[in-house]
Every structure is written in C-alpha cells, then in structure tokens.
C-alpha cells in the first residue's frame, strides 16, 4: 500500500518534471562576458583589447564600466557611497588603484618586431628601422585604440600619426612636424580635395623656439610648453524654450610660449573644448541639453598667437597684458574685423573649416534636444597674465563673441541668438602649467581631469569655476 502511494507520487513528480520546458541554448560564460557576442575578440593580454577593454578570464575582450556610476552594482549596499572607479581598461577598481595595462602610455623604441611582440604581444610590430612599436591594423578604427590622431598605414598595416600639415602633429607635441614633401604648404594641402597624407616625425633640433632668443632677457624664463585651461563664460539670449542660458566654454590648449626679444608669443594649439551650462548662483542645476564640441572642431582651429611685447621678470606677483586676438571660425572674410559674419539667411563667407561637408564649424547638442549645429564665429581675446611661480601662471581674460548659426540638422533648431561675456567676470580666466617639451594634448587631457591639478575644472566643483587670484599650486 505504502509502496503504491510512493510509486504514484514518483510517477506524478516525473510527469510534472516532464512538463517543464527549456527554450533556447544557454550561452557559455566567455560569450556572455562579452555581452553575448557570438564571436568576441579573442585575447591574451589587456593591450590586445585596446583602450577601454580588458582581457577577461575566458580570453575575450570585455568591459565592465565606462564611468564610476557603472560600478554601483558592485556595492554591497547600493545606497552607500560609491567607492569604485572605472579604470582606463573598463574594470571597476577601488579608488586610488591603477589599471592602464590596455593602453600604450608612451612609444617603445624597437629594432625588430620581436622587441614589440615580446612586450605587447602579436598585435604590435616594429614600425620602421629603429622605430617605435606600433599596433597592427586593417582600418583606421583599429588605431583609435592607440589614441587620437592615429591612422592605419596602407603600406605596412601599422598605426601611425597621420598628418596633412604641421598642425595635426602639434596634437602629439610641439617637437613633431609633418613630413610633407618639400615645398608643399600644409594648410593649402589640407583643404585640397585629395590632400597628401604624411607622417608626424620629430623636428630636427627639437621644438622650434624661434630666432629672437636672448637667454639674459626676462622673457626667456617664460619660454616652454604649457598646458592651458581657458575658460570663457557667456550669456546667450534668444534660445528656444529657455530663452537665456549661461555657459562656460572650457578650452584646453597645448601652448608653446616663445621668446621674442623682450616679449613673448603664446602659440596656442586647441586640444579639446567642452561647453558646460551653469546657474549664476552656482546652485543645483539640471542640464537638459548641452553642446558637445567634437575633436574635429578643435583639430581644425589654427594655431593662434597672442603677444606680449615687454614682459617683466618671471617672479611671483608679476603681471602683464597680452595684445588682442581676433579669430574667425567657420568663415573666411576679406576683413575679419568688420565684414558681416555669415548667418543662416546670409551665407556669404561661409567656410567648411572642419572639412566635414557641413557649413562652418560643426557642434552637436545632446540630452533632451539632440542634433547638429553649424556655426560661424568671430571672437576676440585679451589675457591678463599673473605669475604664480616659474611653472604656473593665471589671469582674468576679456573676450567677445559673435556666433551665428548657419544651419542645423533639424530646421527647428535654427534660431538667431546673441551672446555677451558673462557679467560675472571671475568666470572667464585662464590657468597654465609648465609641461615637458615633448608633452602632447593627451597629457593636457589627463591633467585637466585630475582633481588637484592646476588646470582641473569641474562644473560641479565651485572653486574650480571661479578665478582665484590667491590660488597656489
């Protein structure tokens, strides 16, 4: 009897088990770790995965995060403070730890391919005789993992620093020039339909410090490569929905200060630009839409020069003014100072400076409103330079800006706006820190993101938003 009951129960259980169902095929761990990619990129080292990814235990390039927020899932208590950071290789790491094994931090000299494969793996080979290790590539995208400005060489299938003019090489440092054929003007070449492409090579003799050098003059102390933060705050009127918006443009530059007799010349290479909206009272602010300035925009800003013709000795407290810089962007005018700047209803003088087949210079808006804007701009700059010490300078600036919209990706985004320098003058200032002669824009980029650095800026960090004449490194 009992046996019968047990048999009945077992039969019932077996029947029920038979009714359960499995749909689909369970993916193995390695594939899952790669986001379910059927054929993920196989790897042995993080470096093979490139910037932003690491080689997981399953031998597939993977990524856990791009920002600390993505690591919240690792907290025992999601409501507690986030103690994690996201590494350059896409791992969630404890604050203070380093994880840069997926990127090359500097060129590695090599004599043969084996010098590179031993260190970096099969993804790298030696480029040129007695050259530097370079990543193997099939297309430009493969080289983006090495950093900005790298392209794939069609001949050797290795990444290199491509250029059509010297300006492209300054991105990698003032000690490099574009190895164009003799007699070919780089700026003319760049705007040809099919420009000659060449490679950035070290300039013979190093950085060009100019001819008018007098080591005894006070101006000699200023010369060098500087990482610069230039903040221009404006108030814009006539915007749709919100009517008025306060914005600061954080511009990061790799600046070469050259001596010119008793004066100096700021040779300014724009590396990146970031636009941040803010409230005048620095109160909490919800950013519904903001402008993103693409690298392409910065890459096509010409080297701009500011002069100071008689500078004091470089001692703390010393102060002087520069001359006035006038620059046009996205327009070419016979008289840059006075000719009418092109507008969406008047396109005379419009120039596709960014070479993206769109009018003027292109920026993107993202957030609640998303799209592209095409602008022309005329702006001016005068800097007051205050010496903090031999490696740090800063000062307030005066600037004006006339910016016209030439078009947008959606017609309803085309508005006539006007801008003025923000009435709070301490929001427009510059700071600069001396860097090694071979510093690049990548170094400036790292510095401005590093809390505590001289050129650190964070829109959510009130002190960094205002000029502080008493600031010390």
């Amino acid at each position: 009897m009992n046996n019968g009951r047990i048999a009945f129960l077992l039969a019932a259980a077996a029947a029920c088990a038979g009714c359960s169902r499995v749909d689909g095929v369970q993916l193995d761990g390695g594939v899952l770790a790669d986001g379910g990619l059927i054929s993920g990129q196989a790897c042995k080292t993080d470096l093979q995965c490139g910037s932003g990814r690491y080689c997981n235990a399953g031998g597939i390039c993977s990524v856990d995060c791009t920002a600390p927020k993505d690591c919240v899932y690792m907290l025992d208590n999601p409501a507690s403070a986030n103690t994690f950071e996201c590494s350059a290789c896409g791992r969630c790491i404890n604050a203070g730890e380093k994880d840069e094994s997926c990127v090359l931090v500097s060129d590695l000299a090599c004599g043969s391919d084996s010098d590179c494969t031993e260190v970096y793996g099969d993804e790298y080979k030696c480029r040129g005789k007695n050259g530097a290790c370079a990543r193997v590539c099939e297309e430009d995208d493969d080289c983006r993992k090495m950093g900005r400005g790298f392209h794939c060489g069609s001949g050797d299938g290795l990444c290199y620093r491509m250029c059509t003019r010297d300006l492209d090489c300054v991105l990698h440092g003032w000690h490099l020039v574009c190895g164009l054929p003799a007699g070919l003007d780089g700026d003319t070449n760049t705007y040809l339909e099919d420009p000659v492409e060449s490679e950035c090579v070290p300039r013979e003799g190093g950085v060009d410090w100019g001819a008018n050098v007098d080591p005894e003059a006070p101006a000699a102390a200023y010369h060098g490569i500087w990482g610069m933060e230039l903040n221009t705050a404006v108030r814009t009127f006539g915007l749709p929905l919100i009517n008025q918006q306060d914005t600061v443009s954080n511009q990061y530059l790799l600046t070469k200060i050259m001596q010119d007799g008793n004066g100096i010349v700021f040779n300014m290479k724009w590396c990146t630009l970031e636009l941040k909206n803010f409230k005048e009272d620095d109160g909490p602010f919800t950013d519904y839409a903001w402008i993103v300035v693409p690298d392409r925009y910065a890459d096509h800003i010409f080297i701009q020069k500011l002069h100071s013709y008689n500078v004091p000795e470089m001692a703390p407290g010393a102060s002087f003014l520069t001359d006035r810089l006038l620059e046009l962007r996205g327009a070419r005018l016979a008289n840059p100072e006075t000719d009418k700047l092109p507008n969406w209803d008047y396109l005379v003088g419009d120039w596709d400076q960014a070479r993206d087949a769109k009018p003027g210079m292109t920026t993107s808006m993202t957030g609640a409103i998303a799209g592209e804007f095409y602008n022309a701009q005329r702006w001016t700059l005068i800097m007051t330079v205050n010496v903090v010490d031999k490696d740090h300078i800063q000062g307030l600036i005066q600037h004006t800006s006339l910016q016209n919209m030439l078009g947008a990706s959606k017609p309803e985004y085309v508005y006539d706006t006007t801008s003025i320098m923000h009435p709070q003058a301490d929001r427009s200032f510059f700071k600069a820190v001396r860097l090694p002669d071979t510093a690049s824009c990548a170094d400036v980029d790292k510095l401005h993101k590093k809390k505590g650095s001289w050129i650190y800026f964070n829109i959510n960090d009130t002190p960094s938003r205002h000029y502080d004449p008493g600031a010390r490194p």
């Binding site: 993916l27 770790a33 790669d34 986001g35 690298d295 957030g367 799209g371 592209e372």
Partner: protein, 527 residues
C-alpha cells in the same frame, strides 16, 4: 385592521425586486472583463468542475461556460467569496556586466542619430534594477448573482458580478511592456496569462430559453469598458517640468463581449453543449497636446507655435475568442462531462494593443542593416522570423465528475489542461507563460433554514504552471548600444559598445513557473 395578502401583488413585488437586483448587479459593472475566472470559474461550483460545465450545469457560472445551461438553473440569489493564493515566480538569470548599458552611451552618436526612435538609459540610471517577479499577493473577490425567470416558462435570466475585495480600490491596473522598454519602468518580467490578473470587477449577464424539451439556447454578455482620455498640457518653463497647466477630456463607453451557447439532449442521460465567446479586452485610448513656451516651427518671418501631440492605445485583460464543445453523461447519482475549448490566442493583444509578434522585430534604427529599398532591416539580417513569435491557438481540455451521495449533498472532482499559447521567447519579448494543469474538488449541500431553501458550496483548486526556462538568442535581442556607435567628441569607435548591450530584463534568460491554490464558498437562496 389586517390586510389579506394578495398573491398577485406578492408576485409583482418579487418580480420588481428581482428586476432591481439585476439592475444593481449590472450597475456594478463599472469596469469589467477578463480576470481569474476564465480559468478558476465564475462561481464556486464552476471552479469545482474545472469550468467543464458545458453540457451539464446548475449554477450561475454557466453564464460563462454555456449560457444555454441557465435553463437548468432555478431561481436563486446569493453571494460568494473566493480567494486565490499564487506562489509563482519569474526569476531572472544573472546579467553579464558587459551586457549592461554603460553611462558613456550619453557620449555617443546615439544621442543625435537621425531616425533612431528609442534611446536606452544607462543601466546605472534605470528607475529600478532588474529583479525577479515574485507573485504572492492573495486575491479575494466577492461574487453576487441572481437567476430569475419572471414567471415565464422555459425561460431563465441570470446575472453575476465578481468584485475585487483585496483592497479598497475598485480597480487596480498596471500596464507593462514585454520587452526591453519595461526596463524604464518596473524592470521585471510579468506572467502573461496566469497568476497576475488585474483586480477589476467582472460582470456577466445572460438568458436562456428552451424552445424544445431537448434543446436549450442561451445568450449572454460580458460587460467591458472603452475609455478615451485627452490631456492638454502647457508647460510655461521647459526646465521646470514639475509645473504645468493641464485640462483633461474623457469619454467612457460600455462594450459587450457576446457569449452564446446551446445544449442538445438527444437522450435523458446524454447532453452535448457548445458555446462561443468573442474576444474581449478593455480598450483605452489616450492622447494629448503639448505646448511649450517660446518653441516655434521653422517658418521664416512668422511665428508659428510648435505643438506636440501624443497618442497611445491600451488593451487590458485580453481574452481570446473561444469555442467550447462538451459532452456529458448523467447516470443516476453520477454525472461526468468533458469539454474541449479552442482559444484564438493568435490574435492576442498585449497591454499596448499590439500583437506579440509585432515586437519580435527590432525598432527602426539606422544602425540596422539596410535593405535594397533603403529601409532598415528589422529582422537584423534575417536572424528574426516574427512569425515564430505569433501566439499559438490552443485546444484546452476540461473534465469533471460529480457524485450525488445524498439527496442533500454532492461531491465533485475536476481536472483541466491548458497548453501555453506563448512560443519560445528567444528574442526581445518576454511573455512569461507555460502549460497549466488544474486539479479541482468541491461539494455542495442543500438545506432548509428559516423556512427557506439554501445551497452552500465550497471548492478547492490547485494549479501548476510548469517551469519554463528561457535562454535568449543574442542575435534576436535588440542591441540598444549598437556596435557601430561612435563618440560624439572624437568620432571614435566605442569598445564598450561591442557585443550586445541591453536593458532587457529577460537577457540572458529567465525561469518562470509555480503553483496557485484557490478556494471559495457560496451561499445561494433558492426560491
């Protein structure tokens, strides 16, 4: 002075009272439609018979199973209380971190890519983290019903209402998506057909007539509603989104789900019944207009305000068209019957009034492969066949046996099998469902109290939804952070976008299943 009681007047009063009661019950149909009762029975006795009462039946639940059987239901009125206690789960499998959407999606070209309609939030900013769905809430309903023939021979009228009493709210409805969009809301997967019903009232009414001694016909209706809401909104400051000026217009209209049935009795001990029920759902159409301050159409030299309109349609508590055919045998104290019910699930509408298969394909995106006509390929290069996600029509079987062990008492047993209409959910969609087995039992007792005739009925049901495990096919799950996305700033490829990133709570898979116990009792006065 005493008044002689007038029999004609008493009958008139009884008729009037019955008419008022029927009207009150119908008036309770403030909201109605599908609910647990299509499976668990509209009354206690139908529940005890596993809803197999298509050829024989004597309770008001036949209004749903076969209204022709009302002819066998004597004049009666009463109440019932029923409960169901689910223990059902949808458990999510662990999501690989690299399939989560990182915050850098904000820095990508997705933000201003023309033609891309849906943009995913980063996983870290979702309203709720993805979580299991544990269905544990006890549901209770109060049933009221009445059958009365108004003195007309071979005619019977009935009405039955079931009112949710689990909470004070007259209706509790929460819609959801069945794909990655639900991540923006509850971030759970819901049971499609069983165990998670909206708590809204249900009303059935019908009438039966017996034109011949061996033939009964009946018609009835489930009452449902159609609602339209129009919201007009003006936001004076687009940056202050918690302040607006609004007006609402609404319309509510009744809708009927027709039910028809017949019963043929070729022999005294044999009956064959059939019933048809049309599809049913509560339709809700909404829409509105939005005006913003200082926002204009791109018209030169003129001010033309830009007005935004939004529309949405909802379909709640969908029940498919059903055809039931049953045969029953009544031999002295024993009655047994079996019914087969066909359900047209292929026309299923989810909460957003769309067919299940319509979500299988990917939404329009410039990141998808391009077809020869220039349109984006929603099948992701042929990986998806939407027809495979169309719900299947089902044949369900219900059986019961009744034994009248005394003149005053009867016991019953029942069983039913409902195969799932939901095909394998390997892609975007997460319609969680599986085959259902129900085992039912019940008793009814007739007695006399206070010189009135009464019937007390009780039932107990145990339902099993068999466990179903789903493993997703990554090629059929919508990649919300496409591999081809590039950074806005540098136009660089984004390594974190490689592979599949999705907020879909069902990725990489989930398990669904569990049991439900239901019970109830009713007290009917026969007159």
């Amino acid at each position: 002075m005493t008044h002689a009681r007038n029999p004609a007047s008493a009958t008139c009063v009884r008729h009037a009272a019955a008419a008022v009661s029927l009207c009150v019950a119908l008036a309770l149909a403030t909201a109605a439609s599908a609910n647990p009762f299509a499976l668990l029975g509209y009354d206690v006795e139908s529940g005890a018979l596993a809803n197999s009462n298509v050829s024989f039946g004597s309770s008001l639940g036949v209004l749903y199973t076969n209204p022709a059987l009302l002819a066998d239901v004597g004049n009666q009125a009463g109440i019932a209380v029923t409960f169901n206690l689910p223990r059902l789960d949808v458990k999510l499998q662990a999501k690989p971190q690299s399939s989560r959407i990182p915050t850098s999606i904000y820095d990508s070209s997705i933000g201003n890519m023309p033609g891309l309609q849906d943009r995913a939030l980063p996983a870290a900013e979702l309203l709720n983290p993805a979580s299991d769905n544990e269905v544990r809430d006890v549901n209770a309903y109060l049933g009221v019903g009445m059958a009365y023939n108004f003195g007309v021979r071979r005619f019977q009228l009935g009405v039955l209402a079931q009112l949710p009493i689990s909470s004070w709210n007259s209706a509790e409805v929460a819609t959801h998506f069945n794909d990655e969009r639900e991540a923006n809301f509850s971030n759970k997967i819901y049971l499609m057909r069983f165990g998670q019903w909206e708590r809204i009232a249900a009303v059935l009414a019908g009438a039966a007539y017996s034109p011949l001694p061996w033939l009964d016909v009946g018609v009835g209706a489930q009452v449902s509603l159609a609602a339209k809401v129009r919201l007009k909104l003006y936001i004076p400051d687009a940056t202050v989104q918690d302040y607006s000026q609004s007006n609402v217009g609404s319309e509510i209209a009744g809708a009927l789900r027709p039910v028809a049935g017949l019963r043929f009795r070729p022999l005294d001990w044999l009956a064959v019944g059939a019933a048809w029920r049309n599809e049913s759902y509560v339709s809700m159409d909404g829409g509105g207009g939005l005006d913003l301050w200082n926002y204009h159409e791109p018209v030169p030299d003129k001010l033309v305000p830009k007005r935004t309109t939004q529309k949405y349609s909802m379909a709640l508590d969908y029940e498919p068209m059903e055809i039931s055919v049953g045969v029953g045998v009544k031999l002295r104290e024993v009655t047994t019957q079996v019914a087969v019910m066909w359900q047209q699930w292929s026309q299923y509408l989810d909460h957003h009034a769309a067919h299940a298969q319509s979500y299988a394909e990917f939404p329009s995106s410039p990141f998808l492969p391009v077809l020869s006509d220039g349109a984006y390929d929603p099948t992701n290069g042929g990986a998806i066949d939407a027809d495979e996600y169309r719900f299947n029509n089902t044949f369900n079987v219900q059986w019961s046996g009744q034994w009248r062990f005394k003149e005053w008492g009867e016991a019953s047993l029942g069983a039913c099998w409902y195969p799932t209409p939901a095909p394998a959910q390997l892609g975007r969609t997460n319609f969680a469902d599986n085959d259902l087995l129900g085992i039912t039992a019940g008793s009814r007792f007739d007695f006399n109290l206070l010189k009135l005739d009464w019937t007390l009925a009780v039932n107990l049901q145990v339902w099993q939804m068999f466990e179903r495990t789903t493993y997703k096919d990554p090629a059929q799950v919508y990649d919300e952070f496409p591999d081809a996305a590039r950074t806005l700033v540098a136009n660089n490829p984004m390594s974190e976008a490689a592979g599949l990133q999705t907020n879909n709570p069902g990725y990489p898979g989930y398990e669904a299943g569990g049991i439900l116990v239901a019970t109830g009792f009713s007290l009917m006065h026969r007159f």
